[in-house]
């Protein structure tokens, strides 16, 4: 069951990476980065559940905050791009 979860999350990671590489505009790349970050969070939590060690869970908490700040900054950048 846990192995299937790892496989499904890896497939989602590949899909987001495809959008990151392929995306025609900057907004699509930001969406790809955001999705990859989300999959990484899920992988950290699933790994903590699998091994029973929660040493990396603080990394997950920090990753949510850093991801939000990065997305907000890139949103301002996109908005100024059209001028």
């Amino acid at each position: 069951m846990i192995g299937a979860t790892y496989l499904v999350l890896a497939a989602a990671f590949v899909c987001f990476a495809f959008r990151l590489v392929r995306g025609p505009t900057l907004a699509d790349r930001v969406i790809g980065i955001d999705g990859m970050l989300m999959v990484g969070l899920g992988l950290i939590v699933v790994q903590a559940e699998d091994t029973g060690r929660g040493a990396f869970l603080q990394v997950a908490v920090m990753l949510t905050l850093v991801g939000f700040i990065g997305t907000a900054v890139v949103a301002r950048f996109i908005e100024g791009q059209g001028e």
């Binding site: 907004a27 969070l41 903590a48 559940e49 908490v61 997305t71 907000a72 791009q81």
Partner: protein
């Protein structure tokens, strides 16, 4: 056992949102697919992992991460959607009424968004009702 099933369900939801991000034709609809499915997906992963954990420190960390994600992801999606809409080079397709543009024309938005008049490439009802 039930925790693993919930975690797998959340992972499948994340995969569905990834497929939506790949398949949808437009930046705004891709963002729709990412945000809607991923909040629920990560929330289910966190809840399912909490059901299997025993250490209280781990459980609070996972719940904090899920709560922060639930708070910040809609805000980030709204920021990206607004800037995608007002950016000039990104084509967006809008079906039905364009309420953001109506609000901007009525002056109900801030001065910052009113300054940029988007050259309308979308096909809204305000375009069709005024033929040149």
């Amino acid at each position: 056992m039930i925790g693993e099933v919930i975690v797998l369900f959340g992972a499948v939801l994340t995969l569905l949102s990834a497929i939506g991000v790949v398949r949808f034709p437009d930046a705004l609809s891709r963002m729709h697919a990412l945000t809607k499915a991923s909040t629920v997906g990560f929330g289910l992963i966190a809840i399912g992992a909490c059901l299997n954990m025993t250490n209280a420190n781990d459980i609070t960390s996972v719940l904090l991460a899920a709560g922060l994600q639930l708070l910040t992801l809609p805000v980030a999606a709204t920021l990206i959607a607004h800037s995608t809409y007002w950016a000039h080079r990104i084509p967006v397709r809008i079906d039905g009424g364009d309420e953001l543009r109506q609000a901007a024309d009525a002056g109900r938005l801030g001065r910052r968004t009113l300054r940029r008049n988007r050259p309308t490439t979308h096909d809204g009802p305000d375009q069709e009702s005024s033929p040149s």
